[in-house]
């Protein structure tokens, strides 16, 4: 789950990292009031995407009226396909140097990775691509945690204008915040040194590990949930993974890998998938809700159902799906491929209740669904 700047920075402050004074505003009037109390400010669009500055979403204001004017322009602006609904009114900082600091979960070392660069303010992907020698990394043993000596040696030899110890201390606190909040990524970019030699976090990106949300339920209410379509929201509420796509061949399968592959095979045969709808894992008893969701999407011309039971049993999935089918009696052409645990019972149920046979494999079922969708689209 992503946290926007205004929700992420307080976590740094709790860990003892300095952040500029700020107030959140949802209207230009609020922005003006905030500027009156804070003084010289920066108006910053709050959207969970990068490159806000380039899009014009970050503006300096030297007076409350200017703050009002910039907030008027920024609120309602589109950045990265998202509409800006709020701005952070933040005290202007006197920046002397900009650094980059982050901790993330690293699949390669299978542990936390601390990263630091003197090239702050830029996109980290750009730093890694263009000047990899300027990105310093330290793999952390999570059982021991980050040690001050390691934090200092990561910065050793870097010209930080005498602030090495202060920055090392910030890295220690960053690690504390990363651990305390089950971060998948906690990034400060830029981490600045002011003209007075103080270290401040000017921006912060925090991604919470989705699997850890259940032990941070209060904090999670401050996160920005992924923007879902109404059908996707139904899936989310029923713990069914549903992703709406732009095609007309609906896909219903069990297991992430199998569902993705069904989409691939639909595409391979010249079709265009309408969704990714997966009822694997613990969701395998939810065939009824899944079928209703799949049918809900407008413009669907055919449906391919691909069950391959391992943990999820084909007969249980089929039972739910047939119940919904008999209730809704859809006109939609449907094509089945069934194999694995419980396949014989599922095939028998399909014959008994819909008088249908499955196709011998997913290619045949998917191809038939694509052909039906194409025929339906022409007529």
């Amino acid at each position: 789950m992503n946290f926007e700047e205004f929700a992420a920075k307080p976590l740094l402050a709790v860990a003892g990292i300095s952040v500029p004074k700020s107030q959140l505003a949802t209207t230009p009037d609020q922005a003006r009031e905030a500027a009156k109390t804070i003084g010289g400010v920066v108006i910053k669009a709050q959207v969970p995407v990068g490159k806000r500055g380039k899009a014009g979403g970050i503006q300096l204001a030297s007076s409350p009226d200017e703050a009002h004017m910039h907030a008027t322009n920024i609120i309602g602006m589109e950045i990265g396909g998202l509409t800006v609904e709020k701005v952070l009114v933040e005290a202007k900082s006197n920046i002397a140097f900009e650094y980059y600091a982050a901790i993330l979960n690293d699949p390669e070392t299978k542990g936390p990775m601390l990263m630091f660069s003197t090239e702050g303010g830029m996109d980290i992907e750009e730093i890694a691509e263009n000047t990899p020698e300027k990105l310093r990394k330290h793999a952390i043993d999570i059982r021991v945690g980050l040690q001050l000596a390691d934090s200092k040696s990561l910065l050793y030899g870097l010209e930080l204008q005498g602030a090495n110890d202060k920055v090392a201390d910030v890295l220690m606190k960053l690690y504390d915040a990363y651990r305390a909040n089950d971060a998948e990524l906690l990034e400060i970019n830029p981490l600045i040194q002011t003209t007075d030699g103080d270290i401040f976090a000017l921006d912060c990106k925090f991604v919470m590990d989705d699997s850890a949300i259940k032990r941070h339920t209060e904090l999670a209410t401050h996160g920005t949930p992924e923007k879902l379509t109404p059908i996707e929201q139904v899936g989310e509420d029923n713990t069914i993974k549903y992703i709406e796509l732009d095609g007309n061949v609906a896909v219903l399968a069990n297991g992430a890998g199998l569902t993705m592959t069904t989409m691939d095979v639909v595409r391979h045969h010249g079709g265009n998938p309408a969704d990714f709808c997966e009822i694997g894992g613990e969701a395998y008893t939810k065939g009824t809700i899944a079928l209703k969701m799949v049918l809900e999407k407008p413009g669907v011309k055919s449906l391919v159902v691909n069950f391959c039971g391992a943990f999820a049993r084909c007969d249980v999935m089929m039972e739910g799906l047939l119940n919904a089918w008999e209730e809704l009696k859809p006109e939609l052409p449907v094509f089945f491929s069934i194999a694995g645990t419980g396949d014989e019972e599922a095939i028998r149920m399909l014959k008994d209740r819909l008088d249908m046979d499955p196709y011998p494999n997913m290619d045949a079922a998917s191809k038939a669904a694509v052909d039906a969708a194409n025929a339906g689209a022409i007529s």
């Binding site: 992907e125 999570i142 297991g255 890998g257 993705m260 592959t261 391959c308 194999a339 694995g340 997913m362």
Partner: protein, 291 residues
């Protein structure tokens, strides 16, 4: 990565739960040597005809000892269960659970590395040593999916691995072993580890890899594939997936240019691995290679 054999003594952590019971019975029927189970609340009882211990450490000390542990444990309890098994001296641990907090995973991964414990998963469907034993919740006993043969199969996804195995059997071939590695971004046994284990596994003449978009495990495995002499095939799921979306598995997400279908296909083909357009093509590919 060690492939499970029937002489390996196995304990089941979480043996008394519904899924633990169901799959323990299937594993016993198939040939897995289950020597005990763990449930702190039901110590000194018996379940599925084996003794239940308070901990894996007890199973090692009080019981007759064990080589491997298989876990049917809810997400937030896995860290403690894994640490118990690691400290008990387990050689292998198979973790089926999905949605374990990643910082917990990294914690027991670090401990496992130090103790020399091999971890398969998390979020794996398990593995099958065909005709011998299996672990996890794979339909090893379904003869249309698993038949003794010479094709080694590895997969990130359980359902897609199952489908690939069925295609292999319906084409007239069988498998030596199947290894499910799991769909999480941070896992113990990687694609490369599984490929190497299958390459060295007795009776394996060809290998089928089932990968997914996201991460760089297929690219890493391609490095190993360069050194192999056995015919190797791959199918990579997610070619039609939109960028930036987690496709059901936490590990299956394309970010920028990383983890794309194109990058994996290029790396594998460069290493002499034939990349299949759809899983149904595996039969023809094997006929070409094995006759």
């Amino acid at each position: 990565m060690r492939i499970l054999r029937k002489h390996h003594r196995v304990i089941i952590q979480g043996i008394t739960g519904k899924q633990g019971t169901f799959w323990t019975e299937r594993m016993q029927e198939y040939g897995t040597q289950v020597v005990g189970g763990v449930n702190p609340k039901k110590a000194e009882t018996s379940h599925c005809n084996v003794p239940v211990y308070a901990s894996a450490i007890d199973a090692m000390k009080v019981g007759e000892g064990f080589d491997s542990s298989i876990m049917f444990i809810p997400p937030l309890s896995v860290k403690d269960a894994a640490m118990d098994a690691i400290e008990a001296g387990a050689k292998n641990i198979c973790i089926l659970t999905e949605h374990i907090p990643v910082q917990d995973v990294m914690y027991f991964m670090a401990a496992a590395k130090e103790h020399g414990t091999m971890i398969t998963g998390p979020n794996t469907a398990g593995s099958v040593t065909v005709g011998e034993c299996f672990q996890g919740f794979m339909p090893a006993f379904n003869e249309r999916i698993f038949k003794k043969g010479s094709v080694g199969v590895m997969s990130r996804s359980g359902s897609l691995g199952t489908l690939m195995c069925q295609n292999i059997v319906s084409a007239g071939y069988g498998q030596s072993a199947f290894i499910g590695i799991g769909g999480d971004p941070i896992i113990g046994t990687t694609t490369r580890d599984a490929l190497e284990a299958l390459d060295n596994f007795v009776g394996t003449e060809a290998i089928v890899m089932v990968g997914e978009i996201g991460g760089s495990m297929e690219e890493d495995a391609a490095e190993y594939a360069r050194s192999m002499n056995k015919p190797t095939f791959a199918f990579i799921a997610g070619g039609a997936a939109p960028a930036g979306k987690k496709m059901g598995h936490a590990g299956a997400i394309v970010m920028g240019n990383k983890g794309t279908y194109a990058s994996k296909k290029e790396a594998l083909e460069g290493a002499g691995v034939m990349v299949l357009d759809t899983p149904s093509h595996v039969g023809d590919a094997l006929k070409e290679a094995l006759g």
